[in-house]
Amino acid sequence: MKLSSRKYLLGNEAIAHGLLEAGVSVVSGYPGTPSSEIIPFIARNIEHYDKPPHVEWSVNEKVALEVAAGASYCNVRAAVTMKHVGLNVAADPLMTLAYTGVKGGLVLVVADDPGCYSSQNEQDSRRYAYFAKIPCLDPSTPQEAYNLTKYAFELSEKFEIPVILRPTTRVSHARASVILSGQYSDHRPAFFEKNPERWVMVPAHARLRHKELNKLQPLLRSELASLNRLKLKKSELGVITSGVAAKYVQEAVTKLKLEPSILRIAAHPMNDDAIVELINNSRKILVVEELEPVIEEKVNELSGMAEVFGKLTGHVPREGELTVDAVLKAFGQVTGRFVTTNVPAELIAAERTLPPRPPVLCAGCPHRATFFALKKVFKKSAIYVGDIGCYTLGVTQGTIDTTLCMGASVSMGSGFAAACGGDREIVSVIGDSTFIHTGVPGLINAVYNGAKMTLVILDNNTTAMTGHQPHPCTGETATGSCNFQTPMEDVIRAVGVQGLYVVDPYNLSETEEAFVKAKNGDGVQVIIARRPCVISAKKAGALAKTKKQVSSTCKNYFASCKLCGTLFCPSISFRDSCAHISEDCIGCGVCEQICEFDAIKTA
């Protein structure tokens, strides 16, 4: 047996430790910020365990949850990791999994992203817990995330129900001292007991299971009441908080020297008792929580005579991420006690002179070349239907007109084609990992329903945006083994596309030629622009050592040119009436190919 230890861990690493100590047998997931580090951590450490879990990157979150559900039906512990929007994809199995319930503990780690640091929206996963009528645990630190991960399995098994663990960015991506118990549970024995009334959700069975699920609710509420922390004080102010916001409240009351009563709700569904007790003890209630006013709505239901302040009254910001400063301001408005944190005017003036640094595609990113060729052939008039990944940054090059959700580029492309395809060229743009995630059904649908459109697959052989995770077309699995490499071309041909071209985006003329053919072709035309991500290539030592430089033939860009500037390459800048190429150039040669004055050469 290992001894307890204290380690400096990322929240996601603490969760991974919790999963391993809980004796999890199957872990699945799809990468998504801020959840992506859990599976790689387990995969990296697998060799240290006598009986390691099966760990996998699944093709998408729905598949991942179903993999975990299958394992759980066999009595073993299973976990699935994803970001908040991933739960939308997994919502279909989740809603009915709540009816069938589980056997081995099943924990969904769903990381929310307040402030949309790397997401298309800021939805609140606690809402899903209420929607599906399952428990949700809301940790405020990496230590709690670790503790609650282990507890989540016990809870899940006690009530035979899936459990959501919901860290937010400041838990998943916080690094903190965490005390690990070092106590490992054994894997549970695997067996499946046939029981159609339990596992086969035909209507007759579903009606019964729905009743069972509803009967569980009060039991869950009283079980989870023990996770709430109520500290009553002789104060007219009561505060109700949860998750990382509880820490902001703790700091704010310390700074303001306030001593309100504080209730921390760490689990859902909420138990009314503690809330009612706090309300009865207070004249004013301030509710501080990340994302949606989930707790605040409940408090409003129960509030009676107490006055409730929070997101719905405008005292706490309704959108974006909370900060200690935002919480201090809320306390100020409710209590009249403020701390002044004036930023000096001189600093503000200097801040205004700072150059913006928006995210850009890397120097030598193959997507940049694809976008340049795309714009040249399909022009500004085409509709570029985009997707989720690094290539969303193609918006600066004018080749991303929409971004909605994973896989939407292909299916929305069909919709654009149906609506205005006769007048406008429709070009869908998707990455390789996203294509496998949910792009394939859209492609089958487009061909089957006779869409006229072009699909460009930006194949950089990785899931780049989230930190270079493998996927079926790379052949590699989460643990580095290789069972089978899904042949992308075969998949595309099999669904019946009329034209398929594979090009190297660094070769602009070849790429443009393929785009011209696709433009003139019938039905659905697919171009795979294939070139490994520069970051992977750099790590593999596969980059050319040569850089490019600009010669004196570069024309005054104010007068005549600046064509290489339309690449938005971070290596290219303009000064002294001439283009300059910086040290971080990787020598992709795309600017060299487009320069009309032959001014760019190998250094």
């Binding site: 400096y8 790397s118 903190a176 944190t341 800048s573």
Partner: protein, 199 residues
């Protein structure tokens, strides 16, 4: 060393993707942990791999959340002058700014004179220690060690005796010598400017 009671040290480490802000914060946090302090930090990188800012809040001896409130950090370490200024509003009026004066230009935008940035910093915090850490890093043997040079400078504000030991454990073997040299050069630089510990 024993737990230091209610002593605390809040520090922002900021730079561009690839400049080593997360590495420096990792060494700092691990050292604090080993020397008996509570430590929590927040890494914000969003899409930083694509050329943006990496901002790390490190809180030593704190039981609060990982984000430092405005105007309250004891120190800011800036790997790049504009990025340092971008987060200087977190620095307390008595705090220390340690920054690299070597500029990384931003494509397509004008860059303000570094002297102006330092002047604005000086007007809003306790003291500013600004030097060309990139040059110091080159002197140490590798430009990439600028983060470690700045960490060396920061070390004078902290009562840690094992910072260098943790650094030696953390850096890859082949880069060890340059990093240790950079750390010592940064440390030496600060001796002229700093004396007492903050914690």
């Amino acid at each position: 060393m024993t737990m230091a009671g209610d002593k605390k040290f809040d520090c922002i480490i900021v730079g561009l993707g690839g400049q080593g802000s997360i590495f420096a914060s990792g060494v700092l946090g691990e050292t604090a942990l080993r020397e008996g302090f509570e430590v929590i930090s927040a890494e914000t990188h969003g899409m930083a791999q694509r050329g943006g800012t990496v901002e790390v809040h490190v809180r030593i001896g704190s039981s609060f959340g990982p984000l430092i409130p405005l105007r309250s950090a004891d120190a800011i370490v800036g790997m790049e002058p504009a990025e340092c200024l971008r987060f200087a509003r977190y620095l307390s009026p008595e705090g220390t700014a340690i920054l690299n004066t070597h500029v990384v230009p931003a494509a397509g935008s004008n860059y303000p004179p570094v002297a102006n940035l330092i002047k604005a910093l000086s007007a809003s915090c306790g003291r500013v220690i600004a030097y060309d850490a990139t040059r110091l890093a080159l002197e140490a043997g590798h430009p990439q060690t600028l983060n470690v040079a700045l960490l060396g400078t920061l070390s004078h504000l902290l009562p840690f005796s094992t910072l260098e030991d943790v650094l030696i454990e953390y850096v890859p073997k082949k880069a060890l010598e340059a990093n240790v040299r950079a750390f010592k050069l940064g440390q030496k630089y600060s001796k002229r400017n700093l004396s007492s510990s903050h914690l």
